[in-house]
């Protein structure tokens, strides 16, 4: 099931991962024995109906939540959060009391980085995300798209080997979302980081990923996988109207749809 061309050592291995929450009505199984391996440099998306536990899975990989089973990065089991895994959240999670520039440099504060290098990192990333002239604004003065660009830049400043993206463009309008996807794709093609992305947007998953995993409704299980082998050199407007893109998009959409319908039947409410 691995895509051609990007196969190398396993960067992330998720083995027999289950997560349950205790609620007032007993224990609730959110994720049920998920196994998933990401190769170095691979871009994997997890798509599924809402409430299927896909974000929970990402938080476990991030080390923010504990669960049964194993998560290994470079063959070593994780113990909590680490700088090897950077995360971008749907609602940006910028520090509202810091300016754009200081948000981007936040992660370097506790590292022994000379001032000149810090300035260089900030200038480069502010250029990459196209926010020159906004360095000294506070997050509340920015649009949603600008905030998300700052959040991505803040994570990139720490240069993590793995990027965890939690519905990163879910709160953006359609036009901004497409621009941001193109930006992310460019960054990924440049840096070839290992990416695990949660999304409910099927086109987004097909457009960005090497591989798409479909998650069932609660308890979340990976029920189907799709390899994506599209010509990344094509511009978006050609790619998204091409036959292979749409064939795959429809197949993924139907798979997610089946899960959503099954969920609606199982849980009328």
């Amino acid at each position: 099931m691995r895509p051609a061309g990007t196969v190398s050592d396993a960067k992330i291995e998720i083995r027999g991962l289950s997560k349950s929450y205790s609620t007032g009505h007993g224990s609730l199984l959110a994720i049920d024995t998920v196994d998933l391996t990401l190769a170095e440099g691979e871009f994997v998306s997890i798509v599924g109906p809402s409430g299927c536990g896909k974000s929970t899975l990402l938080y476990v990989v991030g080390g923010f939540l504990s669960a049964d089973g194993d998560v290994l990065v470079d063959g070593t089991p994780i113990r909590g959060p680490g700088t090897d895994r950077g995360i971008v959240f749907q609602d940006y999670a910028l520090f509202p009391w810091l300016t754009v520039r200081r948000n981007i440099l936040f992660g370097l504060e506790r590292r022994d980085v000379p001032q000149a290098e810090r300035d260089a990192v900030a200038d480069r990333l502010i250029g990459v995300i196209g926010l020159k002239g906004f360095e000294h604004r506070y997050p509340r003065e920015l649009s949603g798209g600008m905030r998300q660009r700052v959040a991505i830049a803040r994570t990139m400043a720490c240069d993590p080997a793995v990027l965890l993206l939690d519905e990163p463009f879910g709160a953006l309008d359609a036009q901004t979302r497409e621009m941001m996807q193109d930006e992310l794709l460019r960054i990924w093609l440049d840096t070839r980081k290992t990416v695990l992305m949660i999304t409910h947007d099927v086109s987004e998953a097909v457009y960005l990923s090497n591989r798409i995993c479909i998650m069932s409704a609660r308890p979340g299980r990976i029920v189907e996988e799709f390899s994506v082998d599209l010509d990344r050199t094509l511009p978006r407007e050609e790619l998204v109207v091409s036959e292979p893109f749409n064939r795959l998009r429809n197949a993924v959409w139907l798979s997610v749809r089946r899960q959503a319908v099954a969920a609606a039947h199982a849980d009328p409410g």
Partner: protein, 264 residues
Amino acid sequence: MRRLARLAPLAPLARIVPLLLFVAAWHLVGVAGLVDPAFLPPPGRVAVALVDLLRGGQIGDNIAVTLLRAFTGLALGATAGVWIGVMMARSEVFDAYAAPLVGATYSLPKSALVPLFILWFGIGSTTAICATFLACLLPVVVNTHHGVATTPKVLVWSAQAMGFSDREMLGRVFLMHALPDIMTGLRIALGFSFVLAISSEMIAANSGIGKLIFMYGENGTYDYMFAAITSVVAVAFSADRALLAVTHRILRWHDSAVPAADAA
């Protein structure tokens, strides 16, 4: 909106109008003989008394003493309050011990404890400062606790993913997130600091503006009592405005911040 915008330059003046109406009504009540002027001296006589007290230095000296007590209690209460609030929000064990104490003492009128402090510390500054300290402590504890405890998970997780430990996040994340709440607590505490400093001076001090007000009240020199009260109103109001200005400045980044021109 347009009408409001046109009135905007007049706003500071317009805010004085209700105050002037109040003074006019006060004057008229005296003139009409509704209340014995011995018990409600007209504003003119109070103004004369105020000038007399300012010239004689009684107000300046006593306000200085009162402010020193109030601000000492406030500073101690705010410092301890922030610390306790943070500890309660971050440590379950600490919270288990502190929460019942805070809950039990939160709504207790701290002035009820002044006789107890007199017993322990006698008449004077220590008693006033202790009462002020206790009164300032609780609003800061409660607000700091709320501000720290409501720090969004995603902010904490973001910092953790960048390698920050809990200790490193204290000043960078938790206290910064709590800052708007801390400033709210501080504003409430500032009000309490005047209340407690002055009320404890009334019963347990030989100096301070509270003592002065009480003394003139006992003597029946009500125009001087009103003058002293007026000076307290002016000082408390100025202190509150100063704190608001500072708050506005350090919370420029917060959603509550408005452009300086629109600030009330």
